[in-house]
Amino acid sequence: MIGRAETPTIEKPDAIIVGAGAGGGTAARVLTQRGWSVVVFEKGRLWTAEDFLPYDELHFHEHKTLIPHVDVDPNIYMGGPNFDTPTPSERWWIVNMVGGATMIWDANMPRYTREDFEVTKYLPDGLEGAEAMVDWPWTYDEFQPWFELAEWEWGMSGRAGQAPAQEPMRAGYDYPMPPIRAHSSSQFLIDSFMKAGMKPYFGPHAINSQTYDGRPACSYCGFNQFFGCAVNSRASSANTVLPRAIATGRCDLRTEHCVTRLAFENGKATGVHYLDPDGNEQFLAAPLVFVSIQTIESARLFLYSDIPDPNKMIGHYLTYHAKGDAELTFPLQPAWDLGAEYQPRTAIGSLQLRDLYVIDDRKRPDLGKGGKFSIYDPYTWATPIRLLKGAFLGPDKASIWGDDLRAYMDELRHQGGAYFSFTGDAISLYDNRVELDPERKDPWGIPVARTYYRHHPYERAVSEYCLERVCEIMGDAGGEVRRLLPQTEANPGYGHVHGTLRAGKDPAASVLDENCQSHTVKNLYVLDNAFMPTAGASNPTLTLLANAYRVCSNVSEPR
C-alpha cells in the first residue's frame, strides 16, 4: 500500500541525503556500507509493487497519476515566439516517491564514453557559441570501475562487444545478464545498416533477463516507461540499493519529508530545514549533506538556500539532449509483430545505433560530435493511446483522424516499421538556465523553477543530419517516411537534463569541485545530473550512478 517507510529513527546521522531516487539510494547504499549512519529525506511516499496494479494506460499515463500535476506543481518555461512568455510545463520525468524516476524509467543504460568525457576534441573547429564546452575533469578509464559496479549492483542485461561502435569495455568484462528478448525486426535492421557500414546492437537495460539479485526475469507485460514495475524485474533505487542500506540498520528513510533549505555556517554545511508530514518546519543537523533530486530541482534548492555564488553560475549551463525522431513503414515487409510470445511489447528490446556518435563525413566538416539512436518497432514500442495520439501519416500529417487514422492503423497491423529516437549532445550555454519563478509556488510553498532554454543551431543541424542518414539507409531498404521531426529551437522540458551545478577544477568556472562538493559550502555534495559539466549524448542515468558510487566511496570520514 502507498504509505510511509518504517525504518529506525536516527537523530544524529553522519550524513543527510536529500532524495531517495537513483543518486540518493546509491549514496545510502555506499555510505551505510562504509559504516556510516544516514537519514534520507524523500518528499513523496513509499509505493510498493502492488500499487502499480492493475496496469492501466489511462490511469497511470494519460491521467498522469505518478507525476506532479501541471496545474499545481509545474515548471515555468519561458516560451512563445520570443522566449519570454511564462508557460507551465509538464514534468514527465519527476516522480515524487521512494525510488524517484527509477520507478517509471525506460531503464536504458548506456555508458557515457570517451567522446563525452573529452567532448572538445570532437567538436568542429571554431564552433560559434561553444566557448563554454569543456572536457570533464575525469576520464572514461577512471570511470570504468564505477560503471562496472553500477552495472552489477543495479543489475543490467546486455552483452559487450557486439558492434565496433558500442561502448568499449575492459577485456573479459560482460554484463551480469544476457540481453532481454529481441524485437522481431532486429535482423532486418542489422542487415540493412551493415550494408551502409554501420552496426546496431542490443542495448543494455536495468531490466532482468533472468532471475538476478532475488528479483525475477521480465514478464514482457507491455508496460515499461511511465509505469511502475509490479514484479520488480526492472531495477529501481527502491528494489536494489535502498533495501541494502536499510538492512544495515543505519538508514533512516523519512517519507513525506520535504527539504526546503540547505543550512550552512562559515562555509560549511550544517544540516537541512524541512517540512515534516504535518507541514511543521523542522531542522536536522549533520556534518555532511548529499543532494540528489534531479538537475532542475537541485539548482532550485541551491538558489532558494542562497548558497554563495560569487561567479553567478548556479542554475546556468542547463542542458537537455538534442532529440529528434523518425518513423518509417516498409510496404513490402509484413508486420514484425508475430504475437505476444515473440517480442517484447515495449521499447525494451530495442537496438542501439552508435555509429554517428562522432560524425565523420567529408561533405560535412561543420559536424563532429553527434549522438545515438534507439530503434523501436512503431507498432509495439508504446502503449496504444499514447502511440495513436502522437501518430503521423507523413511529415506534415499530425493529429490524424478519420480515414488517415484508419490508414495508419492498417499500416501498423500489416507492414513492418522502424522508429528512430535520437539522443544528441548539447552545447552548454550560459543563458540556458534555471531561476526561481517570481510568482508561482509549489505545494510546499517554495518558488517553482523557471527555465530559459534555446537549442544551439549546431544541435539542430546534428539532429537533422543524423535523421536524414538513417532515413536514407532505411529508404534503401524499402522504407517510406511517416514521421520526421528533428530538434527545434524551443524546449519546454525533457527528462535528460544536466549541468546546472557543473563540476570542475576551476572554482571560477564551476559550482562543484571534482568530487561534486560545493566550492563555497564544504561538505555539501550533489549527486544528480546537475554535476555534469556537459550533456554527453546518451541516456544519462548509468553515468549518474557511476559518479555517485565514485563520490560516496571517496568522500572523507565525517567530523
Binding site: E50, D51, L53, P54, D56, E57, L58, H59, E62, H63, K64, H69, D71, G222, D337, L338, G339, A340, R345, Y379, P384, I385, L388, K389, S399, W401, G402, D403, L405, R406, M409, D410, L412, R413
Partner: protein, 162 residues
Amino acid sequence: MWILRQPAPEFFSEEEKRLVEVLLEGILPGTDSSPGASDVGAADYLSRLLALDASEYYEIPKWQQLYRTALPVLDVAAQAQYGGHGLAALSAEERRDLLTKLSQGTLEGVSGFDQKTLFATLRGHCLEGCFSDPRWGGNKDGSMWRWYGYLQKPQVFRRAAS
C-alpha cells in the same frame, strides 16, 4: 492495488450521448472489417469518464463544462448548415465536413468555446474510448485490442448484423 470506482449515473443524457457518438465515430469510423468508435462503445466510455471528478484527473471538470456547452451549439450549427439535419442525422460526408471545419476552427455559427480545443479533446477521448482497458467502459469486451493486435495477435473483425 488501485480499484476504479464505477461512476453512476453516467454524465450524458441519452440525447447527448447520441450526439457524442456521431462525433466520435467520425474521428474513428468503422468499416465492415475494422471496428470504429461506435462498435466499441467509445461514447459509453466518455459518459462514464465525465461522471468522475478531479480526484481521478484534474481536467475532468473542465471537460464536463466544455461538452455541456458545446453539444447543443454544435447541434444547432449542424442544422443550419446541413439542410436541417441535426448532428444525429448527419451523413458520413456531412459529418466529415463538420469535423474538418471544427479541427480548423472555421465552423460557422459557433460561439462559447474554442473549436480547435473541442476537436483535440474529442480526438483524445475517442482514442481513449477505443483503446483504454475495458474497465473504463469503452473498448467493449476488448474488441478493439483484438482487432488491432494489442498484447495479442491481430484478429479478424466482422460487424454483427444489426
